[in-house]
Every structure is written in C-alpha cells, then in structure tokens.
C-alpha cells in the first residue's frame, strides 16, 4: 500500500482540536453558562455568568450533503457569525452569534435556501438515519429516501414547538439499527430466513465466522455440489440478518420479504424515567420506494395521537406508560398482534405478571 513518492508522514492526531473552532464569546464564557431560553422555534439564547449572551439559530439539513451545500453554510456563518458554526448530533446545523440583530436576517436567508429553521424544544427534530442503498453493503432499503419522505410530512412539526415534549425519530435500513432507539423508529424487518447462495459462498465465506455469528445456532455446515457450504434451519432462524453481515452469501435481503417495522417509546435521556428501549407497534409494512407512503402514514398516526393526548414533558414512551398500551393501539389505530409478544432472551420479563388488566 505504501507509495514511493510519499512525502508527508501521517500525524496520528485523532480528533480535530476544537479551541479554534469556538466563537470568541464561547471561548470567553466556556463552562460558565447560566441558563438558556428558547425565544422562538429554531432559536436559543444562552446567557453566561458574565452577562454575555449567545444566540443560536438551528436549521435542518439533508445530512447527505455536498461541498456546495457546506460552502453555502459557510457563507452564512461568515456573514452573520464571525465564521463559526457547528452541527448537532441530529445533523442540524447551528449558527452561533452574540448579535441578536443577526438572528432574523439569518433565519430569512436560511429559509430562502430551503433549509427549515427549527428543531428546538418540544418539536420533531431531524431524523437520525443511516446509509441504505446509497452506500451500505447490507441494506434492504434507502434510509435517506424514507427520511426525506417522512420529514416532508412533518415539516411544520420541525419548525414549530407544539409537541408535549421532544420527538426523536430514527430510520434504519437493516435490523442492526445504526440509527438507534428513538421515540419513533422506522426500521427494516426481515421476514424470511436467508437463502444461501452456495456458489458465492464457496468462494468468499469464512464458514466458522458465519456459523458463530448466528445468535440461535441456526446455521450448520453442509456440503452442496461437492463443496463445503452452509444451511439454515428455518425453524430456528429469527431473521436477524447477523449472518449476512458476516457473509454476503447468506442472502437475507429481498424486495418483497424485507419489510418495515415501526417502533415507539425509545428514550435515551435520563430525565424523569430511566432510558428505555422501544417497542414494536407495526410490522409487515411494504418497502415501497420512492415515497414509502405506508410508513409515513403509520408515523403520522402515532404523532397525531401523541400530540393530542400527551401531557407536558411526557415523551412518547412516558405517555404510553400512563395511558397503557391498550389505549395506545386504540388511539393510533394500529393493531397489536401475537408476533409483538416478546420471544427473545428476556421475554419472561415482559409478561404481565400481575392481574392488572385494562378493558
């Protein structure tokens, strides 16, 4: 790999340093902030002990950006923010300035560029999502496309602050779920065990690796056409797709049998209740590019019910815990079915071990 004409010896510096990336007012008040307010959607003001204030304007981005887009963001930062900007962990861009008078012009300019200003407080923020067909080697769908379709319908929820509490969404293109636990998550769900591509497998697969990867020991060595190969015990297989990550010949993706599931109630903050994992509330939704209307529709139903019924500060999972799952299904029009009963490793802990019952 080493090239003879190489002149530069790599510096293993790790993360880029941050000091020069901080606005001078931030540097001055570093670690000495007193409180914040949200004067309007998309705008935060943080007040320091020194009395200084810094204004933040937050805008949505497509996340799958281009150098053109980034340069435009830099133009804004140069014009209004002394050349500083940052991104949030949810792919929103933030412009920080001590100058209150820059806020409104900046908002106008961002919106005219097509970037919605919002994503603060009790809103639906941008979707944390993944690679999909654009880049990943194991996806069953395209995350960016699902996200774009979904956010088109939730545009005003991003730009407003009308929800009971923050709503975090995520979308993932396989069950691994690089997108993460969220208030509402849209995740590919395989429904059919992998078909083994024996020819392909003979060429590429480290057999023991694929066998070891299966969490339920459903993969066994076999011989096909005189070549060592693998077979899947379809009774045992739980369609997790782990083997496909280890060996591309374990073909689990399928245009019809790779579906979508909708999950709710994931919460990662420690505020009030402990962090909680999400629960499945719909599955068998078709993988329907380019606009995935069935997915968008299900997400919409959940948000309508939550917006209507949630009390201030209740995250989606907390709202459901109060009203109960029975009412959640009633009010969203989704259907509980037997596949939603846990059957995995700690399934017993999800059984209703009480006479508490709702009619």
């Amino acid at each position: 790999m080493s090239s003879p004409e190489k002149k530069w010896k790599s510096v293993e510096s790790g993360p880029h340093t941050y000091e020069e990336a901080l606005h001078p007012v931030v540097r001055k008040n570093y670690g000495k902030w007193k409180y914040h307010e949200i004067p309007k959607p998309g705008v935060l003001v943080h007040v320091a002990e020194s009395g200084d204030s810094i204004y933040t304007v937050r805008a949505g981005t497509p996340r799958q950006d281009t150098v053109d887009m980034i340069r435009r963001l830099c133009d804004i930062a140069d014009k209004y923010c002394d050349g500083y900007l940052r991104f949030t962990v949810r792919n929103n861009v933030e412009f920080l300035t001590p100058k209150q008078e820059n806020v409104e012009p900046m908002i106008r300019e961002l919106e005219s560029m097509g970037l919605p200003v919002g994503g603060t407080g009790m809103c639906v923020s941008s979707v944390s999502h993944t690679q999909g067909w654009l880049h990943c080697d194991i996806p069953a769908t395209d995350a960016s496309g699902v996200v774009k379709s979904m956010m088109d319908t939730l545009y005003e929820e991003f730009r407003g602050m009308q929800m009971p509490n923050k709503v975090r969404l995520s979308t993932s293109c396989c069950s691994i779920n690089c997108g993460g636990q969220a208030d509402i998550a849209v995740v590919v769900k395989h429904t059919r065990p992998p078909r083994v591509n024996h020819d392909h497998l003979a060429m590429i697969c480290e057999l023991p690796k694929a066998v070891a990867r299966c969490p339920v020991a459903a993969i066994r060595p076999t011989v096909v056409n005189g070549k060592r190969s693998l077979m899947v015990d379809e009774e045992k297989c739980i369609c997790c797709g782990a083997c496909f990550g280890a060996c591309p010949a374990m073909e689990i993706n399928h245009p019809e049998h790779s579906k979508f599931a909708i999950w709710v109630g994931g919460k990662n903050s420690n505020a009030r209740s402990k962090p909680s994992t999400m629960s499945i509330v719909a599955h068998n939704l078709p993988n329907n590019p380019p606009r995935w209307p069935e997915v968008t529709d299900a997400v919409g139903k959940i948000l309508v019910a939550y917006k209507e019924g949630g009390r201030p500060w209740e995250r989606i999972g907390e709202w459901i815990n109060r009203i109960g799952w029975k009412r959640f299904f009633e009010e969203t029009g989704l259907t509980f079915d037997e596949d939603m009963i846990d059957s995995y490793r700690h399934a017993r802990t999800t059984f209703n071990q009480s006479a508490h019952v709702r009619f």
Partner: protein, 417 residues
C-alpha cells in the same frame, strides 16, 4: 438475491461514454429519485444533482444510476473490500459495485471517515479547506455527520485515497474508526454553550481519543468500542444507548437553587404547573410542595435532570461535579438492544490527574475485555455473559448498589465459604 430482477420495474438507461456536453443534462434520467425532490424538506437528491451537474464527475452519475436502480429493484448493490492508508488498518469504508458491468461509473465508491472536533464545532476556514481537498480527490458528497460522529467523505477511488488523506492530514484532520478497535467519539456541545455541563467533555474527549488513537487506526480487539461524552444526564449524545463507554456528567451535592428565580417561575406559571410539570414528574418523589414553594430532599434525588430542565433559570447542578461511567450500550445485533449500565457512580474530572486516572481505569477495563471477551462480542455482551460481579472484580471495583436496580431475586450464587 432471487426476486430482485422480477421486481425491477424498469431498466435504467446508461450512457457510459457520454461526457459533459454543454446545454445537455449530464445526468441520466432518475424518475424514481426525482420523486424525492418534491416536498418542503431539503432534498439530498437535489443536492446530489446540483453537485453532479456542476462538477460533471462520472462517479456521481454512476452513483445516481445505481441508486435509481436500487429504487427500482429494491435491492442494494455494494460489496465491501479493504482499502487503507499507509500505516493504518481502518478508517476507509470500502465499496465496490456489484453491478459495475451495468453501471461502471460507480465501480468504486469508498468512504473516508474523518474525526471532527469534539462538540462538532467548526470555523469556516477549516470547513472550506476540507471541502476543497475533498472536491479535488473525491466525489464532493459529505455526510455531516455519521451516527458515530464522523465526517463522512463519501465517494473516492482507491488510487486517490492516500493523496487525499495526506492532504487532509496536513490540514489537521485524521481518520476515524472502523473495525474491531476504538471508534470515533461524540460529545455534546457541553461547556461550549450549555449551562448543564458538569465536566469539560470536549477536553476529555480530545484526551481520551488521542490516547487511544493507535488502536483506533489499527484495530486489534474483539470488536468495536465506542466512547460518547455527555455533559449531563440529559445525555444529548444518546451515549447510554449507543456507546460501550458512556461518560456522563453528574454531581454529588445538592441542586443549586436560586430562590428568587423559583418564585418568579411560580408567579409566572402558577402552582399547578409547579405540581403537574415539576413535582409530579420527579421519578423519586424527591420534591415536595411546602408553603407554595418547592423543597428538594437531596438524598432522594437521582440526578435525572428533569426539574433543572423545567426551571433552567432557577435550578442548576450542584457544585461537587464529576462524571458517571456507564458501560455496555449497543444497538440490536444478536442480543437485542442493550442500554449501558452504571459502573462507576462518580469520578472527579477536573485536573489532569483526574483525566489520567480515568484513562488508566479505561485501560484496565479494556485489558479485562481483551482477556475475557469473545470474537465479535461487544463489552456489554461480555459483561452480561461473564457476570457483572466478575467484571467489577476483574477491574478492581467495589460493588455499589447504584450499579443495579435491585439486589438479586434468586439464591443462585456461590459465596465464599
């Protein structure tokens, strides 16, 4: 891959030879993708098109064609490989097209993961330089940011990787993680803007990731290991769910209360709001209403942040600040999602010595995992399999009731006898 062909509703027209003829569209038709230009949310497709039409990079046309083909066939067509830079073993996600006979322009489409500054802070000079280098060698597509926290420079061919990296590296950028080693970390904005930050997470992030930079570049563990640094238990980096090592700011003493601001809050919002939106949401009933005001019983408080969130002017974290370390977070693969769990309830994080002590502790943890873990087993899985008790003994910690929600409900253990 059965089914894929049948599901293809149309074949994409390919124009492999055509370059950039003025006036004519550079890109092939992508009717499916074009649907994603509709609607108010900013469209990544419009961005891609704009870039492609301006730069006329064939790779971009190929990628659009392949994506359109995926939208039609509902299947993906990338496969992995191994591309690195001199002396590194990770950091480039290698992608070769499985249909390069159909769409040769996208034969290679590798991603370079680049570690941004902690807190995802930039100045425009840094960012413009990054864009310029990237446009020179790569496609010009950038994801800001990947879920693990990397700048993802998406779309480069193998033969340009080293040169691109060298130039980036001279400008102060380094590759991020991939494979079975340390990964790129994320920090919330922390002391950079947030009044809740209980330690300098940007500084710790920088120190820790520099310390582990070797194994980030040359992975040699059982599996990946991710750090995330949140300034307080609001956990704006989702560290508990998404990282093996979640470093979360907290405090030990009483919440700081500004009585006047409490009064002002109540005057403005009313006692009902105090009860319904603050007191009733405290998970441990640590707050009570007394003479129309609130009183917090410190020993009942579990530092959940809620009351501070609800009354940011009136309440702030205590003064005796530091971190909690939670471990074992990961998402769904194999064992199902595992939220990180509390391992070290409290460590001070103020001086250089504190940082060193922290890094030593992490080294001990990794040593244990190196000895005890299996291949492709995240540290949370190892702890669950081997036992939390065995783990804390292994790294020399005392048992603390904060580590569990309750003592065990079964007698199935062998105590010393």
């Amino acid at each position: 891959m059965d089914g894929a062909e049948g599901a293809a509703s149309q074949e994409v027209h390919h124009c492999n030879e055509c370059g950039a003829h003025s006036g004519e569209k550079f890109l092939n038709p992508t009717p499916m993708l074009d649907e994603l230009e509709k609607g108010p949310w900013p469209s990544f497709i419009s961005g891609f098109k704009e870039l492609a039409e301006r730069t006329k990079k064939p790779m971009l046309r190929g990628v659009m064609d392949q994506l359109e083909y995926s939208y039609n066939t509902k299947m993906g067509y990338w496969k992995g490989g191994l591309v690195t830079v001199d002396g590194y073993g990770a950091g480039i996600i290698t992608r070769y097209s499985m249909i390069k006979d159909k769409i040769p322009e996208a034969a290679e489409f590798h991603t370079m993961r680049i570690q941004p500054a902690p807190g995802l802070h930039y100045n425009t000079a840094m960012l413009r330089e990054l864009c310029d280098i990237w446009e020179k060698y790569g496609s010009g597509l950038i994801a800001l940011h990947g879920q693990t926290g990397d700048i993802m420079l998406q779309g480069i061919e193998q033969d340009k990787v080293q040169a691109c990296f060298d130039e980036l590296n001279q400008a102060g950028w380094d590759l991020g993680g991939a494979g079975a080693g340390m990964r790129t970390a994320v920090s919330c904005i922390g002391p950079g803007r947030c009044e809740n930050a209980c330690y300098d997470n940007l500084k710790l992030h920088l120190h820790a990731l520099k310390h582990f930079v070797g194994v980030l570049h040359r992975p040699e563990w059982n599996y990946k290991l991710k750090f995330k640094f949140s300034g307080c238990p609001n956990d704006c980096t989702n560290s508990i769910m998404r990282s093996d090592l979640a470093v979360i700011g907290t405090w030990r003493d009483a919440i700081q209360v500004d009585r006047d601001e409490v009064k002002a809050w109540i005057e403005k919002k009313g006692v009902d709001a105090l009860v319904n939106q603050v007191i009733n949401h405290c998970p441990t009933k640590a707050i009570s209403l007394k003479d129309g005001e609130m009183v917090i019983e410190t020993r009942d408080c579990v530092r959940c942040m809620h009351c501070l969130n609800a009354m940011p002017k009136a309440l702030s974290p205590g003064k005796d600040r530091g971190i909690s370390l939670l471990m074992g977070g990961k998402n769904t693969l194999k064992v199902g999602v595992n939220m990180g769990s509390l391992i070290i309830p409290f460590m001070k994080m103020e001086s250089e010595e504190d940082i060193e002590a922290f890094i030593e502790q992490i080294e001990a943890i990794i040593d244990w995992w190196d000895d005890s873990g299996l291949d492709h087993e995240r540290i949370g899985e190892t702890i669950e399999r081997v036992g939390l008790k065995q783990f804390i003994e292994g790294i020399g910690l005392e048992a603390d009731i904060n580590m569990v929600t309750r003592p065990r409900d079964n007698p199935y253990f062998k105590a010393k006898y």
